[in-house]
């Protein structure tokens, strides 16, 4: 990346792999369980968090010198809440069905530990540009896992991707279903999201032994 210095590009690339917010820091698990049964909501959620994190980090970073440290959590909450309401309203206006599907989980972005975590850990102590990159990086790291989990859960659980029947029709018995394949109902249930995340963690740590902690 010629655009970014080496130090800056690390801010984006690190959370994608070796410092991933979900698989390494184990933050933001709740939403990863709740909305990854289908691929589309996973992607929408990833984009929403990308927006909230990017803008939120910038805002907090701009205000970092004037926020009294005693009430910083409240200030952070107000910033997240404002941004989340914007996302919520936009979704309601332009994609009502999807906003129904995601229901309360868009609102619950406020409680997503990754966001508050990055505000506290990074935006409060770093410049605007670096905070922006950090926000984007972490949101991307979060989104990547969400999309991977959503992909497998929708493919194996419902036999579809974005609602398209890629494995054939289970009712009319075409495609894979003709030879006796059936959807795995367990994949649609939340525990399986936890197990899929666990498998990703397993693969990641066995590829990079440095990540294994005692």
């Amino acid at each position: 990346m010629g655009l970014l210095s080496k130090k800056d590009s690390k801010l984006i690339l690190d959370p994608l792999a070796d410092n991933n917010p979900i698989t390494i820091q184990v933050l933001g698990i709740c939403s990863a369980l709740a909305i990854t049964a289908q691929l589309k909501p996973s992607i929408v959620m990833a984009i929403s968090v990308l927006f909230v994190m990017g803008v939120g980090n910038v805002v907090i970073s701009l205000m970092r010198n004037i926020i009294p440290s005693k009430i910083r959590i409240i200030v952070q909450l107000i910033v997240v809440a404002t941004l989340v309401i914007i996302v919520d309203q936009v979704l309601k206006a332009f994609s009502y069905a999807l906003s129904k599907e995601l229901s309360v989980f868009i609102g619950l972005i406020i409680t997503n530990c990754i966001i508050m975590g990055r505000f506290e850990a990074f935006a409060l102590g770093n410049g605007v540009w670096r905070s922006f990159l950090d926000g984007i990086g972490n949101a991307l790291g979060y989104g990547v896992i969400l999309i991977i989990v959503g992909f497998f859960r929708e493919l194996l659980g419902s036999g579809t991707l974005f609602g398209l029947k890629v494995l054939g029709d289970p009712v009319e018995k075409t495609g894979l279903y003709a030879i006796g394949y059936e959807n795995n109902g367990f994949m649609v249930l939340p525990p399986m999201a936890l197990i899929v995340v666990g498998l990703i963690i397993w693969v990641q740590r066995s590829r990079n032994k440095a990540l294994i902690e005692d």
């Binding site: 006796g180 394949y181 059936e182 795995n184 109902g185 367990f186 666990g198 397993w202």
Partner: protein, 402 residues
């Protein structure tokens, strides 16, 4: 130089090869290895892991054979081709026709279970570079006994891979697992493919493919019948006890399970405390439900009435609670280790099993869920038992000192 010496030399020659754990597993399965421990004190005991596992398998074989006969018997009975057999030695039960059909449907389950499960074990042993562990021997035998006879083989294979990897290997292999792998496999099947694991179609061979045709046959388990408040079609208590009823392959014959239990207790492999306390727990819960019905708190219109009004002792012979108590709850790895803990652990399994059975019509059999739940709590129970012991002793010490 006998065959054993040749095999030993072969082993020594290839010691550093990657696949040697696979060879060792087969070698030590047939022979005692030539190596002996040198120096130091060590305990000499005949019951190593392999012998423990084999003892449980011996206890399970009667159930498996009975399961084969029963699979055939239920099929032909549902088709109306044979008369109902009366008693354990009924003339229409122990026939070649029943055995052949049963073996034809049950043996593939056994083969898939062992083939896939041991395959996963071998792969992990080779990757991790340790010896193949024997833990799967019993699991592989239990799995075909606790699934419906018509379960598609690929589903079983997927579930076995899941159960062995997630239930056992991720925790570090045999002896380190929190959950009973066989029950993990069943739970996976149950939640992943519920249409093949419950309902009134899957328990008798051939019922699924005939569904909706004029030849349709019903294959409901007794629990299903009770939960629906339907007639039991003339099945007597002795039929339930002998096991001439539809159900998972190996769990129907209470008689053979009791014999297996006695064998396990006699060889000191299974814990009689867990078996007994599980049964007590189930009876207590059954009595409580009977009391509720007698007190008139629940009317005949209630959807719980059917199972609640079952006399408490019948709960032991209509579902698979005995099988769970004898072969599943006693798994030494996942059960409580302390004696007092075993009583609590078993009691809660029985208690919760019957509770799930009665209250949750979606899970007509709660035994496997109850055991998995208590598997998770077993270390906690042990912790508190040990702590209370420590406290009592400390108190005694203080009294003496004062």
């Amino acid at each position: 130089m006998g065959l054993k010496q040749n095999l030993h030399n072969f082993k020594v020659k290839n010691q550093d090869k990657k696949w040697i754990p696979a060879f060792n597993a087969l070698f030590t399965f047939l022979y005692t290895p030539n190596e002996t421990t040198h120096g130091g004190t060590h305990i000499k005991a005949a019951d190593d892991l392999k012998r423990t596992m084999n003892t449980v398998i011996i206890a399970l074989i009667p159930c498996l054979i009975f399961g084969m006969f029963n699979a055939g018997y239920q099929h032909y009975l549902a088709l109306g081709e044979i008369e109902a057999s009366h008693g354990f030695l009924g003339s229409t039960f122990w026939t070649w026709d029943n055995l052949i059909l049963g073996a034809w449907t049950v043996l593939p389950l056994v083969i898939v279970s062992y083939g896939v499960g041991l395959g996963v074990e071998f792969i992990f042993a080779i990757i991790k570079g340790h010896e193949v562990e024997e833990g799967y021997l019993v699991t592989g035998m239990l799995v075909p006994l606790i699934v419906p006879v018509d379960i598609p083989l690929w589903m079983l294979a997927v579930a076995v891979v899941f159960g062995v990897v997630i239930g056992k290997e991720v925790f570090g292999g045999t002896g380190m697992n929190i959950l009973n792998p066989a029950l993990t496999i069943r739970a996976f099947l149950f939640f992943a493919y519920p249409t093949w694991m419950s309902g009134d179609k899957v328990w008798v061979h051939g019922a699924v493919e005939r569904a909706g045709t004029p030849d349709a046959i019903s294959g409901e388990t007794l629990l299903g019948a009770y939960a629906q408040n339907t007639d039991l079609a003339g099945i007597g208590y002795w039929d339930m006890f002998w096991g001439l009823i539809p159900g998972s392959v190996g769990e129907t014959s209470k008689f053979l399970i009791i014999i297996g239990a006695l064998f396990l207790i006699f060889t000191k492999i299974g814990s009689w405390r867990i078996m007994l306390s599980t049964i007590i727990g189930a009876l207590v819960m059954g009595l409580i439900f009977n009391g509720v019905v007698d007190a008139g708190w629940i009317g005949e219109t209630s959807k719980f009435y059917g199972l609640m009004s079952v006399p408490f002792w019948q709960h032991l012979i209509i579902g698979s609670i005995l099988f769970g108590a004898v072969y599943m709850a006693t798994d030494p790895v996942t059960a409580s280790q302390t004696n007092k803990g075993k009583w609590i652990y078993g009691f809660l399994i029985g208690f919760i099993s019957i509770m799930i059975r009665v209250f949750n019509p979606a899970y007509p059999e709660g035994v496997f869920l109850a055991i998995l739940l208590m598997n998770v709590f077993a270390p906690t129970i042990d912790h508190y038992v040990v702590q209370s012991n420590v406290k009592r002793r400390l108190k005694r010490l203080k009294v003496k000192a004062a």
